[in-house]
C-alpha cells in the first residue's frame, strides 16, 4: 500500500513526519508522537553522554588505589551525578520515551497517543527536571549517592539535595504521564482486529511498564518531597534525633526504586522479543508466556524491595519473606530467556546488527539475572551487599540489558525513524566493541565485590588494583564503542541509503507504512486480520 504512494509522484518528495514542517517551533510545539520521540532521543542522548563522562571520571580515579586524582568531595559528587543522571534521566525514560513513544501508536494502528499534548508536556517536564538536576549536581554539588539515604541526605550532607530532588520529582511526573498515556492508548486506541492477543510483545512489555510507572513513581515522588521538607523544616520523620526511623526512608525509597529496575529492563525485554522474532523470521515461541511474564514481573517487582535492606536492621522475618519473593521474581525472567532461545530454533537467523545486540542482551542478561540470585540469598547477600558485586550485577542488568536492548532497538527501527540505512559494517564493529568492552569493565567487579571492596570508595586497598585497572581499561573500550553509533547515526541521516518500508522483512503494523511514516502514521486505519509474528503464511510479500 505504501509503494503506490511513492511511485505516483516521483518529482515531489513524499511528505512524511520529518519534512511536513520545518523550523524550531514546529519541533518544540509538536504534538506528533514521532517528533516527540525524536525530542526525547536528543534529551536522552544528552543525559547519557553526561552520565558517561562522569562514569569515565570515576573509572579514572579508580585506576590507582589512593584517592589521588580528585578530592573525596569531588569523587562523591561524581558517582552521585553518574547515578542520578543515568538512573532517572537515561535508563528510566530511554526505551519507553524514545522507542515506545515512536512505536506504540504505530504498532497498534493508531494515529497518535491518546493525549498528545500531555506527551509533549511530559517531555518538557523531563527536560526541565533533568536540567535542574544537572545544574544542582554540577553547580551546587550533591554527594549523597543516587539513593539519598537519610539521615545523611537530610541532615549531614551540605549539597543541593533539595534542588536535585525537585528535578527528580519533575522527571518522575514526566514518567507518570508517559505511563498514563501508554496505558490509556493501549486500552482505547487499538485498530480494528488488534485484539489483546495480537498485541506485539513490545507493546505488552510497555503495558506492564506503565503499570509500574503509575503505581510506583508517586511513592518516590512523595518520599523525595518528604526528604526535601525534612531538610528545609527539620520535620524529623526520618531523623533519629527526633525519634524518626531512617529505615522507613529505605522502605519507601525501594518501594519505587526496586520496581524502577523493571521500568528499565521490561521495555528492553520487549525490544528483544521483537528483534529475536523479526531477525529470525519466526513466530515467537511462547507468546502467551512472554506476555504473561511481563505482567507477572510488573506485579512481583513490587513485593521484593526489602532485599535492598537485608543488612539494614530490618526484621529477619521480613527478610525471609523478601528473600523468597525475590527468588520468585527470577522465574518470569528465566521464562523469557528460554522462550527467546527457543524462538531461534529452526528459524531463519540473520546476523545483522540488531540481532547481534539481541544475542548480546540474552547472554548478558542471563548472567545479570543469575547473579541476582546471589543477592536474593539472605546468607550470601550479607557479604556482597554494598560491594562491587552489586555494582557489577546491576550494570549487567542495566548496561548489559537495557542499553543493549536500547541500542538494538534503535538500530532495528532506525530505518523507520530516519528513513535511512546506517552503515552495517560499522554497526557490527561497534556492537562487538561494546560487548567486549562491557564484559571487561564489569566482570572483574564481580570478583572485586566478593573480595570485599565496598562501593562508593574513593580510595581502596592496593591488592584490588589489578582488577580495577582491568575495569578501567574495559570502560575506555566501552566508551569508544558508544561513540561509534553516535557518529554513524548522524552520518546516515545525511548520507545513508534510503530505507525501504520494511528492510528486515518483518511483520508488524509499523513496517506496513512508509519509512519515515506520514504524520498520521497510516493513510488508512489498518485492519488487523493476522496473528502476531506470522512469518509462516506468505500471502503477501512483506517487502515495501
Amino acid at each position: 500500500m505504501s509503494s503506490a504512494v511513492v511511485g505516483a509522484l516521483p518529482v515531489e518528495p513524499r511528505q512524511h513526519y520529518l519534512n511536513v514542517r520545518y523550523g524550531v517551533g514546529s519541533w518544540l510545539l509538536t504534538v506528533d508522537h514521532k517528533r516527540i520521540a525524536i525530542l526525547y532521543l536528543i534529551g536522552v542522548t544528552f543525559f547519557f553522554a553526561i552520565g558517561g563522562v562522569f562514569a569515565a571520571l570515576i573509572r579514572m580515579e579508580l585506576l590507582t588505589p589512593p584517592g589521588d586524582l580528585f578530592l573525596s568531595e569531588t569523587y562523591n559528587r561524581l558517582f552521585t551525578t553518574h547515578g542520578v543522571m543515568m538512573v532517572f534521566f537515561f535508563m528510566i525514560p530511554a526505551i519507553p520515551s524514545v522507542l515506545g513513544n515512536f512505536l506504540i501508536p504505530m504498532m497498534i494502528g493508531a494515529k497518535d497517543l491518546a493525549f498528545p499534548r500531555i506527551n509533549l508536556l511530559s517531555w518538557y517536564l523531563y527536560m526541565i527536571g533533568g536540567l535542574i538536576a544537572l545544574w544542582a549536581l554540577i553547580h551546587g554539588g550533591v554527594d549523597t549517592g543516587w539513593t539519598f539515604y537519610t539521615p545523611y541526605s537530610t541532615v549531614y550532607s551540605n549539597g543541593w539535595v533539595v534542588v536535585t530532588a525537585v528535578g527528580i520529582f519533575l522527571a518522575g511526573f514526566s514518567s507518570i504521564l508517559t505511563g498514563l498515556n501508554f496505558l490509556v492508548t493501549i486500552h482505547t486506541m487499538r485498530a480494528p482486529g488488534m485484539t489483546w492477543r495480537r498485541l506485539p510483545l513490545f507493546v505488552w512489555a510497555h503495558y506492564a511498564t506503565s503499570i509500574i510507572q503509575l503505581l510506583g513513581t508517586p511513592v518516590i515522588a512523595i518520599t523525595l518531597l518528604l526528604v526535601g521538607a525534612e531538610r528545609l523544616f527539620h520535620l524529623g520523620i526520618f531523623d533519629p534525633r527526633q525519634g524518626g526511623d531512617p529505615v522507613l526512608f529505605q522502605h519507601l525509597f525501594w518501594f519505587y526504586s526496586h520496581p524502577a529496575v523493571y521500568i528499565m529492563i521490561l521495555p528492553a525485554m520487549g525490544v528483544i522479543s521483537e528483534l529475536v522474532t523479526g531477525m529470525s523470521r519466526k513466530p515467537v515461541f511462547g507468546y502467551k508466556f512472554i506476555a504473561g511474564s511481563s505482567l507477572a514481573i510488573a506485579v512481583l517487582s513490587f513485593l521484593v524491595w526489602g532485599h535492598h535492606m537485608f543488612v539494614s536492621g530490618q526484621s529477619v522475618y521480613a527478610g525471609l519473606v523478601f528473600s523468597i519473593l525475590s527468588f520468585l521474581v527470577a522465574i518470569p525472567s528465566a521464562i523469557k530467556v528460554f522462550n527467546w532461545t527457543a524462538t531461534l530454533y529452526k528459524g531463519s537467523v540473520s546476523y545483522q546488527t540488531p540481532m547481534l545486540y539481541a544475542l548480546g542482551f540474552i547472554g548478558l542478561f542471563t548472567i545479570g539475572g543469575l547473579t541476582g540470585l546471589f543477592l536474593a540469598s539472605l546468607g550470601l547477600d550479607i557479604h556482597v551487599h554494598d560491594t562491587y558485586f552489586i555494582i557489577a550485577h546491576f550494570h549487567y542488568i542495566m548496561v548489559g540489558g537495557t542499553i543493549m536492548g536500547y541500542l538494538g532497538g534503535l538500530h532495528y527501527w532506525w530505518p523507520k525513524i530516519s528513513g535511512k540505512l546506517y552503515p552495517e559494517a560499522w554497526a557490527r564493529v561497534s556492537a562487538w566493541v561494546i560487548f567486549l568492552g562491557f564484559n571487561l569493565t564489569f566482570f572483574p567487579q564481580f570478583i572485586l565485590g566478593y573480595l570485599g571492596m565496598p562501593r562508593r570508595y574513593h580510595a581502596y586497598p592496593a591488592e584490588f588494583q589489578v582488577l580495577n585497572v582491568m575495569s578501567t581499561a574495559g570502560a575506555s573500550i566501552l566508551g569508544i564503542g558508544y561513540m561509534i553509533p553516535l557518529v554513524y547515526f548522524f552520518w546516515s541521516m545525511r548520507y545513508g541509503k534510503t530505507a525501504p518500508a520494511n528492510p528486515w522483512g518483518a511483520t508488524g503494523l509499523e513496517w506496513q507504512t512508509p519509512s519515515p511514516p506520514p504524520t498520521e502514521n497510516f493513510p488508512v486505519t489498518p485492519v488487523v486480520t493476522r496473528e502476531p509474528y506470522d512469518y509462516l503464511t506468505k500471502e503477501e510479500p512483506a517487502v515495501g
Binding site: 493508531a110 494515529k111 497518535d112 497517543l113 491518546a114 493525549f115 498528545p116 499534548r117 500531555i118 508536556l121 507518570i176 504521564l177 498514563l180 498515556n181 496505558l183 490509556v184 492508548t185 486500552h187 482505547t188 486506541m189 503509575l214 503505581l215 510506583g216 513513581t217 508517586p218 511513592v219 515522588a221 512523595i222 518520599t223 518531597l225 518528604l226 521538607a229 525534612e230 523544616f233 527539620h234 520535620l235 524529623g236 520523620i237 527526633q242 525519634g243 524518626g244 526511623d245 522507613l248 522502605h251 519507601l252 518501594f255 498520521e520
Partner: protein, 224 residues
Amino acid sequence: MAEAHAAAPHAADPRLQHHFADLAAQKEASTLGMWAFLVTEVLFFGGMFAAYVVYRALFTRAFEGASNLLDIRLGAFNTAVLILSSLTMAIAVRAASQGRKNLIILFLVLTIVLGSTFLGVKVEEYRQKFEHHEVPGPHFVVPEGLPRQAEIFFSLYFCMTGLHALHMIIGVGLLTWLIVKARKGAFTGSYNSPVEMVGLYWHFVDIIWIFLFPLLYLLGRHAP
C-alpha cells in the same frame, strides 16, 4: 487537570481531536486517563499514609496524645463543609451533562465557596499550631507528658493536610477555569468531560480528607 486539556476543541469537529474516531472514544480515553491519574494520586498520598501507619504502630502513645491536641470541632466542621462541596460538585456535573449553563455556573461557584471555607478554617488551625509551638522544627516544644515522637505526628499532620490543601487550591483553580469556560457556553449535553474530570478530581480530594479526619483528629479521643 491536564487530562481535561486533552479534550479541548480541535479544528475539524470543534471538540474532536484528529486521532480519535468519535467523541465517545475521546471521552472514554479521558475518563480512563483521569482514573489512572487518581490511582497515582492514591499512591502519592499512600507514601505518607504508610509513614503514618508505621509510626502510629510504633509510637501509639505519642500519636494519640498529640492527636488530642488538634481541634476536633474545626476538623468536624471542615469535614462537613467538604462533603457538602462534593454534593454541589456532583450536581454541577449533572447540570453539565444536561447542558444547563446557569446551573453549572451556580453550583461551581458554590463549590468554590465551600472549598475556600475549608481552606480558611485550615489556615486558622495552622495559626493555632504556630501559637502553641506545635509546628515541627527548631521551635517545637514537646507537649507536656508526651514522648518526643509527638513531633513526628505534627510533621505528618502538616505534610498530609498541607498536601491536601495544595490539592484543594489546585482544585479551586480548576473550578475557576471551568466557570470561565461555562460562561462562554462551552459545555453541552454532548460535550462536558472537563466538568466531569474536575468533578472526579474534587471528589478524590474529598475522599483523602475522609481518611485524614479520623486518622489525625479522632484516634486518640477515647484515651484517658
